[in-house]
Symmetry: C2
Subunit: 239 residues, 2 copies
DNA sequence: TCTAGAAGTGTATATACAACACTTATTGGC
DNA sequence: GCCAATAAGTGTTGTATATACACTTCTAGA
């Protein structure tokens, strides 16, 4: 045991403070080939060895919750510099077969190809899975965590600039529309979409165009209506 | 130590699962005299003895998180049968001077006079405080928990039927409008308000009237637009 | 009987939403 | 070089919703 752990235990009396380990699990979403995907890993250790699950691990003595989530994500998948947001806490007795574990779940939304992932500690493989075709069964209560995370994402899409987190700093309106369509799972009208994001100043014109097998597509970037935490007159996108 | 606690510790190895106690704190809001109020207690024990704080306590071995919140609330304030909702988890190292404690915060919204409160365990007094005039300093990081809770409440008011939780089963439109005004902290237009809640079928006419020093006020009750978890075209109430 | 207090009620204007189709620039394959 | 495929870009109209705004009525209590 390291010194910081010993300090941490000082005065620890399990009859007063019944022990429960605190862990964190991280659900990272991205968009790839027009589909919403989730980062999962193949567990190399018990419990749930050989099952797919979310990156997760235990809180260390001097670490804040968000720091722990960030560290665990980096250790197990190599993903770094990801902005994490607290989702919810899952603590059903029995969710971990070893002992009582309460897990604080975090989520992140990242641009495809902006984070490099690799196999890490306690991990045999790391892979992106389509959110609607997850391997079964998942470790622990990770299926429940993921369904909570998807519901939150859908809700946030309508009143917050969260869609921009899936894209690089400059993007085309077609790409942005693709984010909405993938998350909501339905097509939206292009003309109404463009009118709305521009009028709400969610995005503004950026220099340059993207060339492709189509007319040049103008680049856009986050506009003044996309300040962190901004709340809109909600976007409902054709019902 | 009781047997269930011993079972619980079986296989517990602090070098693998660094210990952090899991606690819960509960922020109960109500409306009283047209003001948003919060239930606080005067702490009878260390730490923060003689400071006001939220009802809170440690998770017991076989208890779910919501059960723990409900039990702690009942033990310390006497409030029972309150519907609790998970708010967020607070785990900054050092937030509890004794040791590392991660606290899962819950919130509830109750009708004034529907819950009886009394002084309970570890408590010297229990009292409702106006949300904009809290005693200072509050125990632990309870000021932060409360400000998160108020922000959540304001957000929910606009897209969910949460306002009805502050009222008894039958209420007048004036009372409902009072909830919105107290939480949002500003006046709303009566004619627009009535039109909107009726058109959205958030409420419907109930039998009877409330007599007072004014024309009889019709009773209303939750309408079909207020099903648990319903999401609206958001109410923004005059800007 | 007078006063205070809240209940109740309608309209006009401005903004936002939803539905809808065609033309154009470019690339890659033939 | 030509053609096919692909996505970019662009306006209008009807409908619905949001906002601003003022007076009368009923009742209880002084």
């Amino acid at each position: 045991m390291r010194q910081d752990e010993r300090d941490f235990l000082k005065g620890y009396d399990p009859s007063v403070f019944p022990p429960a380990a605190v862990a964190t699990d991280v659900a990272v979403f991205t968009l790839q080939e027009g589909k919403l995907k989730v980062l999962l890993l193949l567990r190399a250790e018990h419990p749930f060895q050989d099952a797919w699950g979310l990156p997760g691990g235990f809180l260390q003595p001097q670490e804040d919750l968000a720091q722990a989530a960030s560290r665990v994500l980096a250790e197990e998948t190599g993903a770094r510099g990801v902005y994490l947001e607290q989702l919810s806490t899952f603590g059903r007795a029995g969710r971990d077969p070893r002992m009582r574990v309460v897990s604080v779940a975090y989520t992140a939304f990242v641009p495809w190809n902006r984070v490099e992932v690799r196999t890490g500690r306690r991990t045999r493989e790391v892979e992106w899975f389509p959110a609607h075709a997850l391997p079964r069964p998942l470790a622990f209560d990770h299926a429940e965590i993921l369904s909570t995370a998807r519901a939150r994402l859908r809700a946030k899409l309508e009143y917050s600039p969260v869609a921009l987190e899936f894209l690089p700093a400059r993007f085309t309106l077609g790409q942005l529309q693709g984010v909405y369509e993938a998350v909501l799972g339905r097509a939206v009208d292009k003309r109404n979409f463009r009118q709305k994001v521009l009028k709400a100043r969610l995005v503004r014109r950026a220099p340059g165009v993207l060339k492709g097998r189509h007319p040049p597509a103008a680049f856009y970037e986050a506009g003044p209506g996309a300040r962190e935490g901004a709340i809109y007159p909600p976007f409902r996108w054709d019902r």
